[in-house]
């Protein structure tokens, strides 16, 4: 009998747990919700404007078969929801959607330049604290106002939001773009003393174009780093950066060598000597020669010279970008503060990083090793030109 009572007791506890843990039973089928795909935030006439794309869940016969629902979901664009603050704008948005919204499928949050310049911290906190959003949501800044960006669909995806996501994801995967997510941005904001960058995009010929990075100081956009001058940023921020560039052949100016350089090891050491911050950045890179514009010989000497040339180029790119951040922005956008804080915690506590960073002594050392020398034909000769 006691045994039976015990088991009943356990069962009651178990079910009580269900009630305690559940909180709210949000049973609602996914097709009975308004699925948001992208969100745009802008500032217009002092008001906040939301625009974006929602999934259009209405039966359609795109597949051509009668009575059969299409497998491709459409999207519809919305804009013109204004309010004096986020909640007000949200209310305006909620009154225009047919079902309760579902934020779990939001792919991107795009800010207009105007909004980004005024500061995105409040919105980042909103995304971070609201239950429905994924914390892996990326923030981007758009050249065009979001309402223009989302208004016309792109040709390579069913939604602009998806197009932005797939474009940025493939670039990130290849090591060609830095693509921070909500958690990274929130962490950068929490550091207070450092800045960060957000991807800067635009629309060109009905496609999404990655244009560079928006530099954020105190979560306000202060400048844009163009894609061409952003290689240095990749080497310092991206986990596995890969840059493909053409270099002139060391012994033949008319020939070019296509080389793919990837990061093997990044070591950042900091110290504090004589009231001066010293940051030493050691980058070890691997380069793969992809092809030569004209098939020709590449001697060991050439390879050495090429390694040197690549190394110098990378070093210059990084140094010039660091110089820019120190002199123009007076802002650490690379997160060196994290390394310093970890390596010199007591000193960091008693200093204001943002004010000492511009005077920091930063040394960049790069070394490049070309990996596939043996795959190149050492006996190759330039083909004689035919008459």
């Amino acid at each position: 009998m006691i045994k039976v009572l015990n088991s009943i007791k356990y069962l009651i506890i178990l079910f009580a747990l269900i009630f305690l843990l559940s909180g709210c039973w949000d049973f609602r089928d996914v097709n009975d919700r308004t699925i948001s795909i992208s969100v745009g935030v802008d500032k217009a006439n002092g008001d906040i404007e939301y625009s974006g794309e929602n999934a259009s869940l209405v039966p359609s016969n795109k597949s051509g078969e009668k009575g059969q629902a299409s497998n491709v979901s459409g999207v519809y664009f919305y804009s013109g929801t204004f309010g004096k603050d986020f909640e007000d704008t949200r209310l305006s948005y909620n009154t225009s959607i047919p079902e309760p919204d579902f934020l779990g499928a939001v792919r991107v949050v795009v800010f207009s330049q105007e909004f980004a310049a005024e500061g995105i911290e409040q919105y980042a906190n909103r995304i971070n604290r609201l239950f429905g959003y994924r914390k892996s949501l990326p923030f981007l800044v758009s050249r065009e106002p979001p309402r223009d960006l989302f208004s016309k669909n792109v040709k390579n995806s069913i939604a602009v939001g998806f197009a932005i996501e797939i474009t940025m994801e493939h670039l990130e995967k290849e090591g060609s773009a830095f693509y921070p997510k909500t958690v990274n941005i929130i962490s950068d904001i929490a550091m207070r003393e450092i800045g960060y960058v957000l991807p800067y995009i635009g629309k060109k010929n009905d496609s999404i174009e990655f244009l560079g990075y928006a530099v954020m100081k105190d979560s306000k956009m202060i400048d844009i780093i163009s894609l061409r001058e952003s290689n240095g940023l990749l080497y310092l921020l991206v986990k596995k950066p890969a840059v493909i560039e053409a270099f002139p052949h060391p012994s033949n100016n008319k020939n070019n060598i296509s080389a793919k350089t990837t990061l093997r090891k990044r070591k950042i050491k900091t110290s504090y000597i004589n009231n001066n911050i010293n940051i030493s950045i050691d980058l070890k890179m691997d380069t793969q020669i992809q092809y030569l514009y004209y098939v020709g010989p590449l001697s060991n000497k050439d390879i050495e010279l090429l390694e040197q040339a690549i190394s110098n180029k990378i070093k210059n790119e990084i140094t010039s970008l660091i110089y820019k951040t120190k002199k123009d922005y007076e802002l650490d956008i690379f997160g060196f503060a994290r390394y310093f804080r970890a390596q010199n915690p007591q000193i960091y506590k008693n200093m204001k990083w943002s004010s000492v960073y511009p005077n920091a002594n930063i040394v960049v050392n790069t070394s490049v090793k070309i990996l596939n020398t043996n795959l190149l034909d050492p006996n190759a000769r330039y083909a004689k030109k035919r008459d």
Partner: protein, 476 residues
């Protein structure tokens, strides 16, 4: 001086009660010998060749008597003497021939039993690809012979029981006496002896009596249709219970791992054995959780899916008029209905149900927008998965639990799902089969047994499973 008996009178009483008993009077050397039998259970050839013929040919000096008949006349192989007149009818109803000489205090019973018997067929419920095909039939002697010819060990013992006040069904418990743990044997014996039912028609009856509690959901006794499986289990140190009139032998104790063991993976290579075990465990999870996972994802946690799938999923459900729970529940019921009707239907029209199921459920329901195509895949997959188990009694429990989990999930979402799984795990862990923990060797964890179960390779299993606590642990 031997007393006069009442045998003949008793016999005549029985014959007047329309019991179908025959009495044949034979006159031999001045005496009348009465031969009584039940024609429907008697081998006529054996009766005439081994009993009637030798009695009629009796030509020795002196009058015929019981001892002479017993010792030097009858040809029948198994003959016995008895003097209890109340047992007369039992002998006859068991297919034995009773020989009575008036004035004698004892009578003879001779084995002439023969009944209609199915041939040894290929297994119907425990098919195996790489395993012997001789499955049990309803004749207990045939079944005993199928085990005996595989295990020629002198330690193989058979304990016989007669269960059922009216059916008097023969039940045989087979085991290897220097291997099996007496604890299990005694427990089985105790439970069998406690049965006071009027009749046992099938081994399933006994199965219920061997349960700890009538409301236990999980089968605590395994079934064996193939004689090789029964023999393998006897060798492991388990008991095999054969029931007269049932082609399914019972194996006790049974644990969850043995219920997942089809037997034929032991005949295959080690990689396939591991692969098939993993496949079967996956199938178990599929059968139990797929529909509930569907409800959980569609109605509570769509964000667990990538965005493109969320859209595809939402899109596939646009025209579905009911919510995900009702949709899944109805589809599961329809799948169960199909399964049930395909079992009952005659063999020749069985495939028709498959066609109806495929066309009506698969095609038309999706086209009509009654269910989403994804759910059709899910329900088909979970039904398919449930067929991959060697022991259908186990999967029957899983089928019930599937619905329980479905309701839990629909009401409480992911918490209900988790709690449902917890309740199932608790239920399994707290079950025991004839005193053996049901979840052994997982809980209590016996690493060696667990590895042996997974590898399923007899060359590596040097010892018998530890959780069976056998007397002789060594196998090789």
């Amino acid at each position: 001086m031997r007393s006069k008996n009442n045998f003949l009178k008793k016999l005549e009483d029985y014959t007047q009660k329309d019991m179908g008993i025959s009495i044949r009077e034979l006159s031999v050397s001045g005496k009348t010998v009465y031969v009584s039998y039940l024609p429907s259970l008697t081998d006529k050839q054996s009766l005439s060749d081994n009993i009637i013929k030798p009695i009629l040919q009796y030509n020795k000096k002196g009058p015929i008597n019981i001892d002479a008949l017993y010792g030097s006349v009858l040809y029948a192989g198994y003959v016995s003497l008895d003097e209890d007149e109340n047992k007369l009818i039992d002998y006859i109803l068991n297919g034995r021939t009773v020989i009575i000489i008036p004035g004698e205090s004892r009578y003879i019973t001779a084995d002439t039993y023969k009944t209609a018997e199915r041939n040894i067929n290929i297994p119907q419920v425990q098919m195996g690809l790489n395993s012997p095909l001789d499955s049990f039939n309803e004749n207990i002697d045939t079944n005993l012979s199928l085990i005996r010819y595989r295990i020629k060990d002198s330690s193989l013992r058979v304990k016989n029981f007669i269960i059922g006040k009216r059916t008097k069904t023969r039940v045989a418990v087979l085991y290897i006496h220097d291997v099996i743990n007496e604890k299990y044997l005694n427990e089985i014996e105790k439970r069998l002896k406690a049965i006071k039912i009027d009749g046992v028609i099938e081994s399933g009856y006994l199965h219920k009596f061997l349960l700890n509690n009538a409301f236990d959901l999980f089968p605590q006794v395994g079934i064996a249709e193939r004689s090789d499986k029964a023999c393998a289990d006897i060798l492991k140190g388990k008991a095999c219970i054969l029931v007269e009139g049932s082609q399914l032998a019972l194996i006790a104790p049974a644990t969850i791992t043995t219920l997942l063991d089809a037997g034929d993976e032991h005949n295959s290579n080690i990689f396939f054995a591991v692969f098939s075990k993993i496949l079967r465990i996956t199938a178990l999870l599929f059968a139990l959780t797929l529909s509930s996972t569907y409800i959980m994802v569609v109605s509570f946690l769509p964000e667990t899916l990538p965005a493109t799938y969320i859209l595809a999923l939402a899109n596939s459900r646009i025209s579905v008029p009911v919510n995900s729970f009702l949709e899944a529940f109805i589809m599961e019921i329809v799948a169960e209905l199909l399964r049930e009707s395909s079992i009952r239907l005659p063999q020749h029209i069985g495939p028709a149900v498959g066609i109806v199921g495929t066309i009506v459920i698969g095609q038309a329901a999706v086209s009509a927008g009654v269910v989403s195509p994804l759910l059709v895949i899910i329900v088909s997959l979970s039904t398919l998965a449930s067929f991959s188990f060697p022991d259908f009694t186990f999967i029957n429990s899983i089928r019930i639990l599937k619905f329980m989990l479905l309701i839990f999930t629909a009401v409480f979402g992911i918490f209900g799902f988790t709690m449902g799984l917890t309740v199932i795990a608790l239920g399994m862990i707290s079950t025991s089969s004839i005193g053996t923990p049901y979840t052994a060797p997982i809980a209590p964890f016996k690493p060696k047994d667990f590895i042996n179960f997974f590898l399923g390779d007899i060359t590596l299993a040097k010892e018998r499973p530890d959780f069976l606590e056998t007397k002789d642990k060594t196998r090789q």
